[in-house]
Symmetry: C2
DNA sequence: GCGCACTACGTACGTCGTACGTAACTACGA
DNA sequence: TCGTAGTTACGTACGACGTACGTAGTGCGC
């Protein structure tokens, strides 16, 4: 009986190769790399089983020998880019280390703008994600706190980074698919917003927009957000 | 010349009704409500132009008279449920008010589990979203801070709530579409995770899991996360 | 009251995920 | 040593999807 039917399985628990039959032509890494190449170049929506198979140079249905469902392909992709996380020897300053982690994560998401959309707690236990998580915990060794708290810190920091970068990027990803330009889109949206604010129904929003007349420094906003998260987990010294 | 071709436009800037032609059979609210009904009952993936049209009782292509692109349908849906936000008179305690906002948002997302997946900064300026934002700013009147800071607070709180609830719910939404049961899925994932941890490659993860032997109180985790975010924006008193 | 802008909607195209059947191939049990 | 079971490879096909386009009917503004 072959495993044709749907069987509950984590892709990582499936052996990549069993004894019998012809040698597989590709590895899981080949497949993940092909999918990542497509997503980077043409966006996540271009990642279809057909495209990935074509990129690999095999028939569409051959892919299903390696990846039982498309969902699993996504899981492979996230794990593949998770391997790009540089893991260093923690230097004793957990705040500095976590800031470095956050910036690295953001850089990774800029290289692979589709990552925020695929981020899911379910993918949190792929091999490279486990290595990453272990590294974060190692960085947090100097912090006096229970592991439960440390995991909450990592989750919150990751969440904030992901949310922030998603807000940075998914408009861009969205705009790429539109038949008109980003400027046109923005112009229409801003005009609408200005009209709404000018209606007087939202006095505080109006005040907020006149206060911040200039362009917002998104870089600084991100930095402040990170600091705030880390502040929230920094034990108060006894002297206040 | 009719507006058949793609024109950059925010759906809210399009008049719902112009003078000419037969009366439209449905309002935007009708359409949003139908889509929300389907998403609530059958999940977001069941929201197709065909299904929504069928739910309304009209032909598929008639929908396009009201909603130029599916993306706009999503925007209508998010705005429709944003109307469920209860807006009260702020009582002077901004922390209590923001906690109430956060809990209300979470409750809303539990009623409509697909909302976290659709949350996007782009939808942040729909009519009901603007009302909601203005209400948050009103709640924050007692807080001594620039509007820029207040907007960062609201963004961060919303982000954390969304991330948290998404982690709560999208597994469930995902599982609904699978041909096997949630228990089977979880059993396989946990078995794999246990195997990985038992390998000894992740000593801190192992310690974390033995430390938190019992089931995690997700409710308490959420509450702590909210407190931490608000702490990060609470001005330090002069005396420490 | 003519004409235009609108509503309504059927048809059709290109895409998607993937179930299924078939042929070739290889390692293991006899 | 040799079937044979479990693979790999992949073509075909089905039922979805978003939506471009054509056509017919409707009612307000000139």
């Amino acid at each position: 009986m072959t495993v044709r039917g749907a069987v509950p399985a984590v892709i990582w628990a499936r052996p990549e190769r069993t004894g019998r039959g012809p040698k597989p032509a590709y590895t899981r890494d080949d497949i993940a790399a092909a999918a990542v190449r497509i997503a980077d170049a043409q966006g996540l929506d271009a990642v279809s089983m057909r495209h990935v198979a074509a990129e690999l140079g095999c028939g569409t249905m051959s892919l299903y020998n390696y990846v039982p469902r498309k969902e699993d392909l996504y899981e492979l992709m996230v794990d593949a880019v998770s391997a790009e996380h540089e893991l260093w020897e923690p230097n004793g300053d957990w705040r500095a280390d976590m800031l470095r982690v956050a910036h690295q994560t953001r850089a990774l998401m800029h290289r692979h703008p589709w990552v925020p959309r695929l981020m899911s707690p379910v993918y949190g236990f792929s091999p490279h994600a486990l290595r990453y998580l272990e590294h974060c915990l190692a960085c947090l060794d100097p912090l006096q706190a229970a592991y439960g708290t440390k995991l909450e810190l990592v989750a919150m920091l990751n969440g904030v980074v992901t949310t922030y970068v998603r807000n940075e990027l998914d408009t861009a990803e969205r705009v790429r698919a539109l038949p008109w330009s980003e400027d046109e889109e923005n112009a229409v949206r801003i005009a609408y917003l200005a009209g709404q604010i000018a209606s007087g129904a939202y006095p505080r929003m109006a005040a907020a927009f006149t206060e911040d007349a200039g362009p917002v420094d998104l870089e600084a906003v991100f930095e402040r957000a990170l600091d705030r998260v880390l502040d929230a987990f920094t034990p108060r010294g006894p002297g206040g």
